[in-house]
Symmetry: C2
Subunit: 291 residues, 2 copies
Amino acid sequence: MRTVSKDNITQAFLNYCSQDTDPRLKFVLEKLVHHLHDFVRETDLTHDEWRKGLELLYAAGEISTPERNEFVLFSDVLGLSSLVDMVNSPEDGTPSSVLGPFHVLGAPEAAVGADLKGDNEGKTVVVGGRVLTPDGQPVVGAELEIWQTADNGLYSNQDAAQPEYNLRSHMNADDDGRYLFSTVRPAPYTVPDDGPVGELLRATGRHPWRPSHLHFIVTAPGFRSLVTEVFPSDDPYLDEDAVFGVREKLVMEYQERTSLDGLPDDLEIRDRLTLPYYVVDFDFVLARAET
Amino acid sequence: MRTVSKDNITQAFLNYCSQDTDPRLKFVLEKLVHHLHDFVRETDLTHDEWRKGLELLYAAGEISTPERNEFVLFSDVLGLSSLVDMVNSPEDGTPSSVLGPFHVLGAPEAAVGADLKGDNEGKTVVVGGRVLTPDGQPVVGAELEIWQTADNGLYSNQDAAQPEYNLRSHMNADDDGRYLFSTVRPAPYTVPDDGPVGELLRATGRHPWRPSHLHFIVTAPGFRSLVTEVFPSDDPYLDEDAVFGVREKLVMEYQERTSLDGLPDDLEIRDRLTLPYYVVDFDFVLARAET
């Protein structure tokens, strides 16, 4: 409209949307444009700053590939990805956390008690616990997908020296909801910082490190799927994850053990364990699916 | 931090910025993240919606080239580009409007009164006026850069059938601040809608049309540079410009003339004019540069 002004342009945008626009789309766009317009008005954004923002987006497009998506990375380091996780996390289940770009399909099946460590260097850790309903009952038929870095901070699909599917597994919890495996401690690593996201991090004095973590996807019929990560309490980056993935309820403890006492019989690595090793006990709680 | 939540993640982002971050950068980022986070919180944005947004950005990266920047186009159709223009427009000068992607450097010089129409088809229009200070005095040494579409809605750099620099010119206003040229009426055209911006327009029932316009850049020593567009009052898209570029003060009138009476002596096309033709009278007011 010819009388458009900085005070009515947000409404002008809405007036352009046709009556039969999908109501949810219209609501989301209304909120998006409202906030972007307020951002420009409240900052009196200059043309140079506007151009700089557009240059960062253009550079993100240039560096992005299906394997390295700089737009997702911008969303991650601005806290948007984690915020979307948080607004969609059920109150009565284990919190979700970022999926990240290193998940791959087709990891091998393993039985409860399996060893994922194999020939990997690093400290041995025995990870186990139960998959539970919000009222503490075992979730029958729960499936867990597990992936993590090796001791060098790289995932198998980043590191030609690792076997395919190294430190990746699918596992079906037993009738008691129990899961168990042995592995190595994962290591902290940096998000890619050779593109525009790295430029933003450096301009704000931020580092690109993520604390070490184990990734899990936990699913079961009748329950909401859980995509999450679990972080050791002693990681130096626990309180400064570059992508805001840590939640208090996702922190696990490495318990040092100097004997084999109390280890379950079905732990495959049991007879090969060298002392000391570490034990992690972590339960997942799945919220019921909305019906 | 491990206690990050949907209520404190915005502050967590700010805490990550180092003390010696440039204060303006920190302020702009604070406002940007504050509004993006509020957007997610107020919409309870779903993972599917978040992925769709990221897909649109990725697709924008894929279709963008130095000549066709889809991120600028997103900014345009969301009203952001025009809002940046508006918050930076001085109160006491002619409003600015979008530069657009069709400006090229190196257009030829032309004297006051020059003809740009040449062999172009279309209705002849004589455009003239003055470049003035906010208190109505002529701006000595004012330079004008002019570009527009041909009658087919295409700029010379979009249309191999047009000569290089067709309907493009530089002109120095005379000592009275006066400029004058003859040309053809520009035509409405569509912004590119074969990419993700087109997808957004269709999903919201919007058309991609811009009203016809003349582009101007007006500069003079001691004054703020003016990048603007001037729109005819009878254009069918005047109240629904896809990129929100129209301002009430940028609307011009095509006055139909059926005689040569009153035409200035220095109008080059004067003796070749066929009746009827059209006259536009439009003055530019330049705000003084901040010192």
